[in-house]
């Protein structure tokens, strides 16, 4: 059972609040990655407020609960805000993001003991392997909960991803639901220009995965994709959701470009963004 189990209307409100957190966090330190964070906000909010079974009383081992791993660690703002809003730590701590002596490092880390983080991520391509290991440990422990992992689409350039993809198919790791954030953007430009991923769905299918596609910025479609993905687990194949999102979603001037991958808004841009991210009862940290 999800500890929040919110309705779609409530999820939308939470997502707006998380997006407010994201732009405020990166603005406060004039650094960080708002684009991918905003694009994946609905995914994170759906997972932590509806889909996953877990306890906000964090334990590293996470036995008998669903686990989530973030592989593209640079979208830490959305991860931190979601964890705080879901009850892993006080939302006030979001104000320490990227500052000295903070548990909210630029990229997620376990070193400072932030609840909710199970592995460091930032150097790309490693999270799928870690998630598969955790999934296989669950099988050894007769723990029938699921492991979720999010990767970027630019991250698919990394060779380790394909080592892990091949392993998952071969070993029939069917208690994992991986997701690729298919926003078609990476630092140097569009994924088509930088490194064309070709038919990503066919690639994963060729590696033995059950693949489905989802709209990542529409809760109804996203939740039904999660239901479909869950139903596909336990059938001898790892499950992949190719999730179509828009980088910067929710803030019009950040959308549709790689420009806001790793750039923070200035004071004026922050005000405009916050106006666009209205919530019924704003509870900014």
């Amino acid at each position: 059972m999800n500890p929040h189990n919110k309705s779609i209307e409530e999820l939308k409100q939470t997502a707006a609040q998380v997006r407010r957190d994201i732009v405020r966090m990166v603005h406060a330190v004039n650094s960080g990655h708002p684009g991918g964070s905003l694009g994946c906000t609905d995914y994170f909010v759906a997972l932590y407020f509806k889909v996953m079974e877990y306890s906000p009383e964090f334990t590293m081992e996470g036995k008998n609960e669903d686990l989530f791993f973030l592989s593209n660690g640079h979208i830490s703002p959305v991860f931190y805000s979601t964890l705080a809003r879901a009850g892993f730590f006080d939302v006030k701590e979001l104000a320490t993001f990227r500052k000295l002596n903070s548990r909210l490092q630029g990229h997620p880390a376990t070193e400072e003991g932030l609840p909710g983080i199970r592995v460091a991520a930032g150097s790309l391509g490693q999270g799928l392997s870690v998630a598969l290991g955790a999934a296989q440990a669950k099988k050894l422990n007769n723990d029938n909960h699921l492991v979720y992992v999010l990767m970027g689409d630019g991250e698919q350039d990394e060779g380790q991803i394909w080592e892990a993809a091949m392993y998952a198919g071969h070993q029939k790791v069917d208690n994992i639901i991986a997701t690729v954030d298919r926003n078609h953007q990476q630092i140097d430009g569009s994924t088509d220009e930088v490194m064309d991923l070709g038919n990503l769905r066919a690639k994963y299918e060729a590696f033995g995965w059950h693949v489905l596609e989802a709209e990542g910025n529409d809760f109804e479609k996203l939740l039904s994709a999660f239901e479909e993905a869950k139903a596909a687990t336990g059938k001898g194949k790892p499950v992949m959701i190719i999730m179509h999102t828009e980088m910067g979603y929710g803030v019009d001037f950040m959308m549709g470009s790689h420009k806001w991958h790793g750039v923070a808004p200035n004071d004026e841009q922050l005000e405009i963004a916050l106006q666009q991210l209205a919530v019924n009862e704003a509870a900014d940290y």
């Binding site: 081992e61 996470g62 791993f69 880390a109 392997s129 870690v130 598969l132 290991g133 050894l140 070993q171």
Partner: protein, 319 residues
């Protein structure tokens, strides 16, 4: 000079295999992962007895390190197995981020380290692995000296919570340490007490140091020989105590002279007790094809090289 009689020669990798099998029987959390080198790593017995706890990952070492990190999250104690080169340099960033920085309880077990891998040549003969691994915060680095000690170390590290790099090798060498030894991480082992020079050796060089000790004794030189099986954390107390007595040092290792045991000792001496030190190590070069004995001779890692280094160290002490 003490005698170290032995009745058989065995490879240290077989000590690892035997230790892993014993662990499989005593610790249900221990799992094995291997990158298509099960036979070379001597992991077959574990695989046969515990197929559900053995994971063949194919020739994909980066994925293996990530998988191992993930398995710790479910309370498993993963032992990864591949050659030292593919256990370190090939996957440094995976170890750094997913294992060391993430504080994961992974045991990185590396065979065929150094020149004694032999005929396969320099592509496989890593001489930089100790340096890379000891540079990583949180990492413990262990390089045992024979079959029995490798077996004991393999078993002991399961009870230590944290990432470990366990280095061993391919050739058969004398089994001269006790079968029933208690392996203590970070605790140097006194092999021969002496007064003229301290020889700190690790891995395959420990037996060479013993042979050198006999030659030195014939020359009237009383060498203290200490087995440093744990490179990190270094047993500083044992090193300083010995150097206070002998006043000069030889470090001996099957590794580049940059970044290995010698540098760890030198750094300690600079900080705490200045004394002449001579390195027996590979002189910043790659290896080549050849038999293990030929290579150890050519690259200056023989017992005679240790003798010469000891004599140089002693003469510098007198200057």
């Amino acid at each position: 000079m003490k005698d170290f009689p032995y009745t058989e020669k065995k490879d240290t990798r077989s000590g690892f295999g035997a230790g892993l099998l014993e662990l499989g029987r005593t610790n249900p959390n221990v799992v094995g992962l291997c990158a298509d080198l099960t036979g070379s790593m001597k992991m077959d017995a574990f695989k046969k007895e515990f197929p559900e706890r053995f994971f063949q990952v194919g020739i994909a070492e980066a994925n293996m390190m990530g998988l191992a990190a993930g398995m710790t999250i479910g309370g498993k104690i993963p032992y990864t197995g591949t050659f030292a080169n593919f256990s370190t340099g090939r996957v440094y960033d995976q170890i750094r981020q997913s294992i060391a920085y993430s504080g994961k309880n992974v045991k990185i077990c590396a065979s065929h380290a150094g020149l004694t891998l032999g005929e396969d040549g320099a592509t496989h003969q890593i001489l930089e692995d100790l340096g890379m691994m000891k540079m990583l915060p949180h990492m413990t680095v262990i390089n045992p000296c024979d079959y029995n000690q490798t077996k004991a170390a393999t078993i002991a590290i399961a009870d230590y919570e944290g990432p470990v790099y366990l280095r061993f090798g391919r050739p058969v060498i004398p089994v001269f340490t006790p079968a029933d030894q208690k392996f203590e991480i970070g605790k140097a082992v006194m092999l021969n007490e002496g007064t003229d020079v301290s020889i700190f050796a690790t891995g395959h060089l420990v037996w060479k140091a013993i042979q050198a000790g006999h030659i030195l004794a014939e020359k009237g030189i009383n060498a203290e020989i200490i087995n440093i099986h744990t490179i990190k954390p270094l047993d500083e107390e044992a090193v300083l105590k010995s150097v206070a007595k002998t006043g000069c040092v030889v470090s001996a290792e099957e590794h580049n002279r940059f970044g290995g045991l010698g540098d760890s000792i030198a750094q300690l001496l600079v900080r705490k007790h200045l004394a002449p030190q001579e390195y027996v190590a590979v002189n910043d070069t790659f290896g080549e094809s050849g038999t293990p004995d030929q290579l150890m001779e050519k690259y200056g890692l023989s017992e005679n090289d240790i003798v010469a280094a000891a004599e140089r160290a002693i003469s510098r002490k007198k200057q």
